[in-house]
């Protein structure tokens, strides 16, 4: 493999299998390849690990059960009643982002969560789902979400736009947070790596920093998946219980 001297080179999308249907460009890229790998690995982990389910779990079953319980716990504490029916959705979301971030930590692989269009698609999905559930459950009453209680009528003129804005900003904060963290982290790793490659004898220092950064990036990778999932929980909670 060639050494990537440009720190942003790692984010380039490379077409692998060109697919054009009509005017649609459905080319299978390295990004899509990593998504496929992530999906396959997740399925393998959850299906294979629990295929021969034992009362006393083995290693793999233990991992699968721990993740399961972690997500179930998160849903119980953040949504509470009526939250379990969203378990499949949140579990899938969490695992997909977690695997995306962790797979991206493997050298020369590709981090698809470092592309805003991917994270925005995920965040938009969450946003649309939450809004749809809120409207389906509460109808017009859902709009009471934007009207704070116990506020003089005149102030509502000011507060309702603020509430609306802070609601519609969500998919953007959700997606930009994940994307920016991944992009910045990986760029930083590559920059220090480039340093190490170019300073010769003094390469020890940037290499040491890079090693520390890898640890930090692993933390960020897991934490960002957690944050994304927990915010989805919070938004769902609000749509279900309204206040």
């Amino acid at each position: 493999m060639a050494i990537e001297l440009h720190p942003l080179e790692q984010f380039t999308i490379e077409p692998l299998i060109p697919i054009h249907i009509g005017r649609l460009d459905l080319t299978y890229t390295n990004s899509a390849l990593m998504m496929t790998i992530a999906a396959v690995l997740i399925t393998a982990l959850t299906v294979l690990a629990t295929r021969r389910a034992a009362l006393v779990p083995g290693r793999w079953q233990s991992i699968a059960e721990m993740i399961y319980e972690f997500v179930a716990d998160m849903i119980d504490t953040n949504i509470g009643q009526g939250g379990r029916q969203f378990f499949p959705f949140i579990f899938t979301l969490f695992m997909f982002i977690l695997f995306a971030n962790l797979l991206g930590m493997i050298p020369f692989s590709f981090t698809f969560t470092s592309h805003i269009i991917v994270t925005f698609a995920l965040a938009a999905l969450v946003f649309i789902l939450v809004t749809a559930i809120g409207i389906a459950r509460h109808g017009f009453h859902f709009l009471s979400l934007f009207v704070p209680h116990g506020v003089p009528k005149v102030l509502l003129l000011l507060l309702v736009p603020i509430e609306l804005l802070s609601y519609f900003i969500r998919p953007f904060t959700l997606s930009i947070r994940l994307f920016a963290n991944m992009l910045a982290g990986h760029t930083m790793l590559a920059i220090f790596g480039g340093f190490a490659a170019s300073v010769g004898l003094f390469a020890f220092f940037p290499t040491a920093i890079d090693i520390l950064l890898v640890g930090l990036e692993l933390l960020v990778a897991v934490l960002q998946a957690y944050v994304f999932a927990i915010l989805t929980c919070l938004y769902l909670n609000e749509a279900i219980h309204l206040h």
């Binding site: 009362l55 953040n78 009471s144 979400l145 934007f146 009207v147 704070p148 209680h149 116990g150 506020v151 003089p152 736009p161 603020i162 509430e163 804005l165 802070s166 609601y167 900003i169 953007f172 904060t173 930009i176 947070r177 920016a180 963290n181 960020v220 934490l223 960002q224 957690y226 944050v227 927990i230 915010l231 919070l234 909670n237 609000e238 219980h241 309204l242 206040h243």
Partner: protein
């Protein structure tokens, strides 16, 4: 093996696990709380950093776009900039204050006497 028979070993195992778990939580509740607090704190820290920036940036951009369409330069941008700042601060405040049901001002599980009393007092003040 002393009490009960073989018919329900699973139930007994479940009981024993529950007991052990309760024991563990009782023995070191501080450590458990510490860990979950750290986890939550980290999550929160990573959450709120970007909240304000995105709110301000996005609202200002939206204002600029509205100006562009309607030719109301510079009012849309000015108004939306301030609204964006307010919305961003609101989001940060709610995240920090752990009002996890962000939109709206009532805290979850605090619909009880305390809040309502305070709110009524506030309303009375206004009138």
């Amino acid at each position: 093996m002393s009490e009960g028979g073989p018919p329900d070993p699973l139930a007994r195992l479940g009981e024993r696990i529950d007991k052990a778990r309760a024991e563990r939580v009782r023995r070191q509740p501080a450590a458990v709380n510490d860990r979950s607090a750290l986890q939550q704190g980290l999550g929160l820290g990573f959450r709120i950093g970007i909240e304000l920036v995105v709110a301000v940036g996005l609202a200002t951009g939206l204002g600029w776009a509205i100006d562009h369409w309607l030719g109301t330069r510079p009012w849309g941008m000015i108004v939306l900039f301030f609204l964006g700042v307010a919305a961003g601060m609101l989001n940060v405040y709610r995240a920090v204050a752990r009002i996890s049901t962000p939109v709206g001002y009532r805290r979850p599980g605090e619909d009880g006497v305390g809040t309502r009393g305070a709110k009524d007092a506030w309303d009375d003040d206004e009138n």
